[in-house]
Structure formats: C-alpha cells, structure tokens
Amino acid sequence: MGAGHAHPLHLPGTSPVHRLSPQVKVLAAFMVVFCVVATPRAAFATYGGYLVLLAAVWVIAAIPPGWIGRRALIELPFVVLAVLLPFAQGGERVDVAGLSLSADGLLDGWNIIIKGTLGVLTSLTLAATTSPRDLLLGLQRLRIPATITTIATLMLRYVEVIIGEARRMRIARVSRGHDPRLLWQAGATARSVGRLFLRSYERGERVHLAMVARGFTGAMPALDERPVPRLEWTLGMLPVAVALALVVGAWATA
C-alpha cells in the first residue's frame, strides 16, 4: 500500500519489535492485556510492573514516550466515568482534600483507569510497531478465516477513499450554510450518508467486476507460508511470561 494508506498510529521502524512476526505480536498483546485485566485492583506495585514492562518494549522499539502519551488521550472519556465513581458509590467514606468520597468507589475508579490505560498503551504499542498489512497477515496466520482478512484488507484499502468523499461532501454542505451542530439539519447529513452508501455499494460492484476480470474466484491465492522460527516465539512470549509472573504474584500476595 502507498503512503496514503499508512494509518496515524503506525510508527515505521526497523527495531526487533517491528521485525517480529505479526502473529506473535498480536497473540502477545492479547495475552498481556488479559493478565492486566485479571490483576486484583489493589495490587498497585503490579501495575507499576506492567508499566515498566511496556516501557522496556518502547525502548527496544525506539518509540518516544511522548509519541505514545499523546495518542493515549483516546481513552479520556473513560477517565470521566471513573472520576464519577468515588462520588456516586456508597460504602465506607474517606476524606480526600476535604471531599467525602466512597473508598470502594475510589478503588473501582482507579481499577477502570489503570486497566483501561494499560490496555490502550498495549494496543498502541502493537499498532505502532505493526503495519496494517502485516497485522492482517498475522490474523490470517492465526487461522482467522481468509474471507475476514480479505474483507478487512479491502476495507482498509477503501476506507480513506470513502472518508475523503464524506469529507468533500461535508465541506460542500458547510460552504452552502449547513451547520451540522443543529439536530434539525440532520436531513442534509442523512442525504449525504445515503449518497455515500450508494457510492460505496456501487464501488463494491465495480471492484468485484475488476477482481473477476483478474481471475478472482472467491478466495485469495494462498500466501507463501514459512513457519515462525522458535527464537521469535521465545522473544515474543517473553513479555507475556513477565506479565503472567506479575499477575500470579499479585494473586499470591493478595
């Protein structure tokens, strides 16, 4: 894919993390986040351990912490939810800076913030070190049906085309006095969405014909598959082993 299809969360590089087989990285990311989610909420040191683990991966992958930090703001809406819990919940109250807060609510709020944050940071690390193409290849090698990965590939190929069309339609509307903040102007937005659907669907029909003309029979040709060297699996599963040790340790001491 050309440069226009690079997605904003990918940070191209040649570090060992970038070069690791995508299926190893996808599996490792899922397993690490599962360990994080399974950690008891009051095991503060364990969460610090996860952060050190992620930081170590960033150092190896040469990802600047600021780069990750700016993109981690995605999860800000959840922080709002978590901040409300200490006020809304019942149970034992504690005084923090003159406010009477629910102790249970504080822990729950912390639980949501820290797990959500570590989850987003892990996803960002995966996205930063894996190009969309590699990621879909990795999913296919993890035995996800080829039709799903083909659909996802086509989606990623065309989503920017369609977003570009939507953007041009929006600019055309706004330059004619449309103000999409107002709900009673939804008619114009909806007609554009209808138009966008027709364009997408008809483009799908054209893409299908173009694929048939090039010999497409409903399945993509099989890719050259080489088994992943054992060393790569060992390296990729190293962070998972650390996370597993952390979560087991947290439950043992809880």
């Binding site: 989610v37 729950d108 989850g119 659909i151 086509l154 939804a186 937005t189 969405v193 997408s200």
Partner: protein, 241 residues
C-alpha cells in the same frame, strides 16, 4: 472526532477477564455464522461487497451528532447496515470494523473485543433487523412508512445494544456501582443517542430508497420501481415475498 464522545466502545478493565473470554467465544461463533450466511447470500461477491460496506460503516462512525449540550455521540450503524445489506453482511461488517478499530486504532479494549462485537455487531444488528422485519408489512406501504420503520429499528438497536452492556456488567462488572444506576444511566443515555441514530438512519434509508430502492435489503421481493424513477414511491400493495 469530537472530544466528548459518549457512544463509545467498552475498554479493558470494565468487565472482568472470565466474562470477557466467554463473550469472546460468543462473538467468534456469531461472526462465523454471519460469515457462512453472507457467503450463501453473495457467493464470490462476499469479499468485495463486504469490504466496501465495512468501509462505509467505518466512515459512518466518524459522523458525530449532538445529544446534549457539549455531548455528542457517533452512529453505530448496525440497524442501517442491516436494513440496507441484510443482517448477515451487516453484522459481519460491523464486527470487522470493531476488530480493526481495536487492533489498529486502540479504540475499544483488546479483551473487550468480544463484548463489543457481541453488543454492537450481533445483538444490535439482530435487534435492528428483527424489528424492521417484524414491521416489514408497514415498511412496504410507502416511503414515509419505511422511514418510520427505519427510525424505530435504529432506536431499538441502540437501546438494546446498551442492555447488552448491562447484562455483561451484571455477570462480570469490575466496579461495584449499583446495577439500577448503571441500567438507568445506560438506557437514558442510549435513548438519547438512539433518537439521533434513528433520525440519521431513517433519513438515510429514505434517501437510498428514493434513488435505488432495489438496494434496500428489507424491501427485496416487494414490487419496486426501477432506479431511474428519481422520487420513486414504493408501491403500496407490495407485501409478496
């Protein structure tokens, strides 16, 4: 994207690990079923058509609309996709959008992927299409009727999708907030989102029906005018299928 999106995906840590794993299996089974059904519907056209419809759903989720002052939501698109391309292709596309968002855009937690797919791609699309199918005799009466049916199914899609979250929260909510409070706030919020979702879905389906009613899956089998009839009214006696 707006800085204050509320119609958001579940993140990691809100639902505990065992529940997330169970719903991961539910989601995988549901998507596999939807995939088999869409293959039967589209044969070798599945990949390109689903790819473009998924790209459409993806673009759709970038459209924000206001709910309350300073609060906006974005479309889920489940009911819209189901009415336009059918429930199988619709849920498959919404599911793939959610997978790509979680893996490439860090939107929605990795462990919550099964929860999000179950809610939005499976429950949401099934409810949206189920309501539309139940009201199909009304929808084929005319364009105004079709628009009304689309509104109701999109509204129900959004509200029931939020009930999916409440169910998961009941089974494995990590925070101890009382169930009643969660239920009321989720339904209240999603009823408001559902109105916006309903209006956009209804008008979009109306716009598609007036220029290419042959592309509206819900109306398949009903007598229709050709695509050249610009402001086509769907014939009132259409109920055969």
């Amino acid at each position: 994207m707006s800085s204050s999106v509320v119609a958001m995906h579940i993140s990691d840590g809100i639902i505990n690990a065992p529940t997330s794993a169970v719903f991961g299996v539910v989601a995988a089974g549901g998507l596999a079923f939807a995939l088999a059904k869409s293959r039967a519907q589209l044969d070798e056209r599945t990949a390109p058509m689903a790819g473009l419809v998924a790209a459409f759903v993806f673009a759709l989720q970038l459209i924000n609309f206001p709910i309350l002052p300073g609060v906006s939501g974005h479309l889920l698109g489940g009911a819209l996709a189901a009415i336009l391309v059918g429930p199988w292709l619709g849920s498959l596309c919404v599911g793939i959008v959610l997978i790509v968002q979680a893996l490439l855009f860090a939107d929605g937690g990795l462990t919550a992927l099964g929860l999000n797919i179950t809610n939005m791609a499976i429950i949401g699309t099934a409810v949206g299409f189920g309501v539309a199918l139940a009201l199909r005799p009304l929808a084929t009466r005319g364009r105004q009727w079709l628009i009304g049916v689309a509104f109701i199914s999109a509204f129900m899609n959004t509200v029931i999708t939020s009930l999916g979250f409440v169910l998961q929260y009941t089974i494995g909510g990590a925070a101890g907030a009382s169930l009643g409070a969660v239920l009321i706030s989720m339904i209240g919020l999603h009823a408001l989102i559902g109105i916006g979702e309903g209006i956009i879905t209804a008008l979009t389906v109306g716009a598609v029906a007036s220029s290419r009613s042959d592309l509206v899956y819900l109306l398949r089998g009903a007598p229709q005018h050709t695509r050249t009839a610009a402001a086509a009214q769907i014939t009132p006696q259409g109920s055969a299928s």
